[in-house]
Each structure stands twice: as structure tokens, then as C-alpha cells.
């Protein structure tokens, strides 16, 4: 650790003041960079590459499910596809995308010259390509890659796992290290590098939600590392954490996993809450309604996420009092989440709204995430969950919170800040096309899953009853549409990087925040002299005189 916070190094940013030296040239710029913008860019590109890879696995899944019966892949490979799709999307696409946004935007939003620990920042990024090369390489190994679902329940992932499971375990270790270091960096940056006068309650909500996310990360990623370490010991060193033969218990695995797993789902959504809380006020041209309540709601959600994990396990045979506790605790999360949704709606109320692409994605986020939230409430009801458990209803639920939740939040952020990153406006027509194709494709893919799930179609099975055929075909067509549309997004981003209308410092009239006070594209070094924020009102005061 001491090398990471080497004083000589953090001073680097200040050493270069007055003469604006740009980035180094060539490949080594990216390997050695400690610049938060470079690292943010690398995170975002990495995450997009993983999004396409995990997405192509989803295409394999939907192609196989296009018709009942086995057409394209063998069940063994199908299992590897569902597992790898989940792992890559969760750990490779969504989480790194938010870390990329944090790297780019948090220093700009709080007036800091860079992240607090720039070299560790470089290391935490470069662990990811190593981790995912290792994870993806298992697909080419004898016996195939992980085939036990992204939740890797023991004993499927221990006693009955393919040989490659050890590579999977080490890949998870590396991802965990990367996330933990990223989280420590975010906390250190936010707590120590804010511009003078930028009090906590003046921070943009994206910074707030990321601060809370980072605390969730350092609390639960070590537990994930612990659970895979126990698996490693069970597989190779003769322990019996999850083996009943030696006095262990497979149900223990599920408890430890979901103690990590439930906060993890909030890790994937809280930063999107923050981004949407920046975008909706900008395009409604009104300050965010209920800033303070947003902060407290986020903190409440984070707290509650630690005491609801067993709602994933209602059917394992936990006692009635346990089911009641976890049911009520889970239903309670609807309260702070409802506060947030009503605040976004109130922000839009009587605003002078325009619907540029970031706003379209943000509005769709609010509506569709709420649908995902409602199906979550249905699943939270313990007696009903026995019917929904492990059906496509669950698949529909978590895709509704993750695709139009996390992914639309990332798209909205990308369109909102692309002018700042590239100095060019993206192509608005193509952006809107991307939105509508994504919106229609995604709803076509995931909405019918509610129906087949309620009718009893189990998840993670490559074949299904004839009666589910029509809905599955609709799902597959929607999924192909959603998947293909993402290539359009790639085209839009490349087009925007290469040229387009020059973006002013503040391309959106209603936008607020320090990131719009610097030129577009953002210079390589920013805020080497911190801005003075002491004259600014706190958000709640800003609202009071509105």
C-alpha cells in the first residue's frame, strides 16, 4: 500500500502546473497512465467490449430458445453460456462501466485534479483484462467453462464442477481486488479531495451514490473473495465448508453468497440512480426535487441491502419467522426506492422538458426500473415466491432492473457526458434511433418472460414445453433487436469521437455542476487549482428559494 500513496507521486499533478503537458504518445500511454480521464476511458471501453461479449452469449441463449427442442447448442454448452453471460455482464460490463464513469466524472464534479490514488487506479484497471482473459479462457479448456450459473451454488460449483473452476475462482479473486481498490480510491477521493467549500451536502448526487456504493463494495467484495476461497479449499485442500460429508452445509454457501449478492445488486444500480438524478434536472430545467431525501434514501437502501439476503432463499427451508423477517425487510426497501422515484417524477413535474437522447434513456429508466421494482415486490412475498422461484419470472425481474436500470443509466450517462469527453456533439438522430430500438427490443425480449415464468417455465434450461413457444420466439426476436442495436451505439460513439458539431463547455442548458465549467473536450489536466465553492448554496437551500 505504501507505494500507492507515495507522496512524490501524488504531487505529480501539481508539478506540471502552468505548462499543460498532454498525454504521452503510443501504447505505453495507456499502460502506464495514472490520469483519471485515461483510466476512465479504458474502463468504459473495456466494459463495452465485455458488454458485446456477454451480449453475444445472450444471443446464443436466445437463438437456442427461439424454438422448443435442441437446435443449436448442447445443454452443457448452454449452461456455460448462461453462467458466463451473467458473470461477464455483472463483473465485466456493469461494474467497470460505473467505475469508468466514477473515474471520469467524480474528480470533475468535486473539483479535484485527479483520483486520490492514481497509481492504484492504474493497477485496478489492468487487473480486469487479466481476470477476464482467465475467465473466458476456461471456455476453451477440456471439460468447458463454469456451467453452474452465475450464482455458483455449491456443490454444483465444488463437487460437480468442471476442472476449470479453479481458474474461475482466481478470476473472481482478481475482480474482487480490482473492485476493492477502485472503491478505496473513490472513497479517498471524495472524502479528501473535494474543492474548498464543497460540503458533503453540496456534492452532486452521482458523487453521493458512488460514495455509498464504494462503501458497499468494500463491505461485500471481501465476503465474495471469502466464499470463493472456501470453495477453493473444499475443492483442493480437503476442507468441508459446503460438503455435508465432512460436517459442512451446502445451504451455508447460499447464505454467504447472498450476503455478498444482495448488496451487489445495489452496487449495480445506485450509481445509475446518481446519474439519472443529474440528467433529469438538466432536461427538465429544474433543480432536483428533494436532494436531501435522495441522499438519505440512498443510504437507507444501502443499509437495508445487508439484511434482506435470505429472500433469495425462501425455498431452502428457512423457518417461518425467518421468512417473515426477510419478507418484511425486503418490502421495506420499496419505501426509500419510492422516495427516489417520486422525487424524479416531481423534478419533471411542470419542468420545461426536452427529450434529447440522455433524457429519453433517463425517463425510460424511471418507468422501466419501477416495473422491475414491482416484480421485485411480488418476488419478495414469501408464500408467492415458492411459485416464482427459479422461473423466467425471476429472469424477467432482474433483467428489468439491470437492463433498463443499470444499462440504460450507463447509456444515459454516456450520451450526457460524451460532449464533455470528446468535444463533439453525438448524432442526435442516431442517438434517438438507438434509444427507440433499445427500448422496443428490450421490452419485447423481457416482458413476455413474466408470462412464461408465471406459467412455470424454469430458468437455465435449454428446452421448454411447446406451450411457451410463441412467447419465447417474441423474446428472442426482441433480444436480437436489442443486441444488434448496440452495434449502432458503437458506431455513434466512434462517430462522435472522430468529429461532429463542436460542443460548448456546457452543451445542455439546464445542466449544473463543476464539470460544465471546464472546456469541452475536458483538458488532460483539470482543477489543478481547486475552484472555490464556498459561495455556492447547498442543494436544499437552492431548492427552497426556487
Amino acid at each position: 500500500m505504501s507505494a500507492v500513496i507515495d507522496p512524490g507521486h501524488a504531487g505529480h499533478g501539481h508539478a506540471g502546473h502552468d505548462h499543460h503537458h498532454g498525454p504521452a504518445k503510443g501504447l505505453m500511454r495507456w499502460v502506464l497512465t495514472t490520469n483519471h480521464k485515461d483510466i476512465g476511458t479504458m474502463y468504459l471501453w473495456f466494459s463495452f467490449a465485455m458488454f458485446l461479449l456477454g451480449g453475444s452469449m445472450a444471443m446464443v441463449i436466445r437463438a437456442e430458445l427461439f424454438q422448443p427442442g435442441l437446435q443449436i447448442v448442447q445443454p452443457e454448452f448452454f449452461n456455460q453460456m448462461t453462467t458466463m453471460h451473467g458473470l461477464i455482464m455483472v463483473f465485466g460490463a456493469v461494474m467497470p462501466a460505473f467505475v469508468g464513469l466514477a473515474n471520469w466524472m467524480i474528480p470533475l464534479m468535486i473539483g479535484a485534479p485527479d483520483m486520490a490514488l492514481p497509481r492504484m487506479n492504474n493497477f485496478s484497471f489492468w487487473l480486469l483484462p487479466a481476470a477476464f482473459s482467465m475467465l473466458v479462457s476456461t471456455l476453451f479448456m477440456e471439460g468447458g467453462g463454469p456451467n453452474f450459473g452465475w450464482t455458483f451454488y455449491a456443490p454444483l460449483s465444488t463437487t460437480y464442477a468442471p476442472e476449470s473452476v479453479t481458474f474461475f475462482i482466481f478470476a473472481i479473486h482478481l475482480m474482487g481486488f480490482s473492485s476493492i481498490m477502485g472503491a478505496i480510491n473513490v472513497i479517498a477521493t471524495i472524502l479528501n479531495l473535494r474543492a474548498p467549500g464543497m460540503t458533503l451536502m453540496k456534492m452532486p448526487l452521482f458523487v453521493w451514490t458512488w460514495l455509498i456504493t464504494a462503501f458497499l463494495l468494500i463491505a461485500v467484495m471481501p465476503v465474495l473473495a471469502g466464499v470463493v476461497t472456501m470453495m477453493l479449499m473444499d475443492i483442493h485442500f480437503g476442507t468441508s465448508f459446503f460438503s455435508a460429508a465432512g460436517g459442512g452445509d451446502p445451504v451455508l454457501f447460499q447464505h454467504v453468497f447472498w450476503f455478498f449478492g444482495h448488496p451487489e445488486v445495489y452496487i449495480m444500480i445506485l450509481p445509475a440512480f446518481g446519474a439519472v438524478s443529474a440528467i433529469i434536472p438538466a432536461f427538465a430545467r429544474k433543480p432536483l426535487f428533494g436532494y436531501t431525501s435522495m441522499v438519505y434514501a440512498t443510504a437507507s437502501i444501502a443499509f437495508l441491502s445487508f439484511i434482506v439476503w435470505a429472500h433469495h432463499m425462501f425455498t431452502v427451508g428457512i423457518p417461518l419467522t425467518g421468512e417473515l423477517f426477510f419478507m418484511y425487510a425486503t418490502l421495506l426497501i420499496a419505501v426509500p426506492t419510492g422516495v427516489k422515484v417520486f422525487n424524479w417524477a416531481s423534478t419533471m413535474w411542470r419542468g420545461s422538458m426536452t427529450f434529447e437522447t440522455p433524457m429519453l434513456f433517463a425517463v425510460a429508466f424511471v418507468i422501466l426500473f419501477t416495473i422491475g421494482g414491482f416484480s421485485g415486490l411480488m418476488l419478495a412475498i414469501a408464500p408467492a415466491d415458492f411459485q416464482y422461484h427459479d422461473t423466467y419470472f425471476v429472469v424477467a425481474h432482474f433483467h428489468y432492473v439491470l437492463v433498463p436500470g443499470a444499462i440504460f443509466g450507463i447509456f444515459a450517462s454516456a450520451y450526457y457526458w460524451l460532449p464533455k469527453w470528446t468535444g463533439h456533439m453525438y448524432d442526435e438522430t442516431l442517438g434517438k434511433l438507438h434509444f427507440w430500438m433499445s427500448f422496443i427490443g428490450m421490452n419485447m425480449a423481457f416482458f413476455p418472460m413474466h408470462f412464461v415464468g408465471l406459467a412455470g417455465m424454469p430458468r437455465r434450461i435449454p428446452d421448454y414445453n411447446m406451450m411457451f413457444a410463441n412467447f419465447n420466439m417474441v423474446s428472442s426476436i426482441g433480444a436480437f433487436m436489442f443486441g444488434a442495436t448496440q452495434l449502432l451505439f458503437l458506431f455513434i460513439v466512434i462517430k462522435c469521437i472522430r468529429g461532429g458539431k463542436a460542443a460548448p463547455a456546457k452543451p445542455w442548458d439546464g445542466a449544473e455542476g463543476l464539470e460544465w465549467t471546464i472546456p469541452s473536450p475536458a483538458p488532460y489536466h483539470t482543477f489543478q487549482t481547486p475552484p472555490d465553492m464556498s459561495g455556492e448554496h447547498e442543494h436544499r437551500k437552492g431548492l427552497a428559494h426556487d
Partner: protein
């Protein structure tokens, strides 16, 4: 520079949180066992029971016995009777028979489980073959006793409960794990 010191102190503290949470993940293992025992949940039964109870002649409870082989276990294994009717407080013995049909000596461990799980805390074993590992020579057959008392405080709505054993082949992991298993199974 004070900013450097602040950052260093914060990072050290956050790293401590990380280490503590890694430890907490492992601490969940004993916590889980303790919780299951304390609340008698998950069908887990406790170790050797040494108490004695007056017999409640007024009440009868049906106890069913199940024996299952875990995957790859080849022994013949089963109870001598499928079920018995007992009075709470009374001490009852049931014999289980195991036979090793292979030509190799093998070691087995039986893991008990009680259903409904809320009855597990009221099912006391005073003697059980599950407290130790069983070694059988090729072709050997043994009778293994379990002696139990149903607690008088068994909830009134439980009229019938099931004691299930799963028999695991632990030959491969015998030497190092044998001790650990013994201490964990019979605290």
C-alpha cells in the same frame, strides 16, 4: 503534506475494513452452525444429549426413519424398522444396518437431519453412530445403534417426525479430516 497524511490514514482504515469483512465471511461459518443449533433450524440436531426426562404416557409421536446413500456411496444401508411410535421423554433405540459389498475397506460418515426442521431441537440423541465414522472391512456387515429421546416440550402440533440419515463415503479424505469432523459433529 496534510492531505497525503489524511489519505494514508483513510486508506489504512479502509483496508482494515476489507480485512475485517474477509474475516467476517469466514466467521459466518461458525455463526451459521451456532445459529442453527441455538434455534434448532435447518434440521440440524445437536451432539450427545446427557439429560433425562420423565415419560409422557399421554402423548404418542410417530418417528419415521430414512436412510439415503450420497452420490457414489455403494454400501447397503437402512433401518431395521421404517417407523416406531414413542412417548416423549422415553428413550428408544433403533438399529441401522450397513454392509460393505466391495472388496476394499471403506470409511463412512452418516449425517442426520430431522424434519420438520422445527422439531430438530427437540430430538435428542443419547447415542448415535453418526457421532463417529464407521470403518467396514470388505464384505463386513454391522448393526449401528441410535438411541434417542423426544423432548417433552415438542410443540403439540408435531405428531410425526422423520429422522433421515445420508451416508457419505469419506474413505478418500479419512486421515486429516477425521479428527476435524469428529470435533465438529460432537461438540
Amino acid at each position: 503534506m496534510t492531505e497525503e497524511r489524511l489519505t494514508r490514514r483513510l486508506v489504512v482504515r479502509l483496508c482494515l475494513v476489507v480485512v475485517a469483512m474477509f474475516g467476517f465471511g469466514f466467521a459466518l461459518v461458525p455463526i451459521y452452525d451456532v445459529m442453527c443449533q441455538a434455534f434448532g433450524i435447518n434440521g440440524k440436531t445437536a451432539g450427545v444429549y446427557e439429560g433425562q426426562q420423565a415419560v409422557d404416557e399421554q402423548r404418542q409421536v410417530r418417528v419415521q426413519f430414512l436412510a439415503t446413500n450420497a452420490a457414489d456411496m455403494v454400501w447397503e444401508f437402512g433401518p431395521q424398522a421404517d417407523e416406531v411410535v414413542v412417548h416423549p421423554g422415553d428413550s428408544t433405540q433403533m438399529l441401522f444396518v450397513a454392509y460393505n459389498p466391495t472388496d476394499k475397506p471403506m470409511t463412512a460418515q452418516a449425517i442426520p437431519s430431522v424434519a420438520p426442521s422445527k422439531a430438530a431441537a427437540y430430538f435428542h440423541k443419547t447415542e448415535c453412530f453418526c457421532f463417529t465414522q464407521q470403518v467396514l472391512q470388505p464384505g463386513e456387515r454391522i448393526e449401528m445403534p441410535v438411541r434417542f429421546i423426544i423432548d417433552r416440550d415438542l410443540p403439540a402440533d408435531v405428531r410425526h417426525l422423520t429422522l433421515a440419515y445420508t451416508l457419505f463415503d469419506v474413505t478418500a479424505r479419512k486421515p486429516p479430516v477425521a479428527q476435524a469432523t469428529l470435533t465438529r459433529a460432537a461438540p
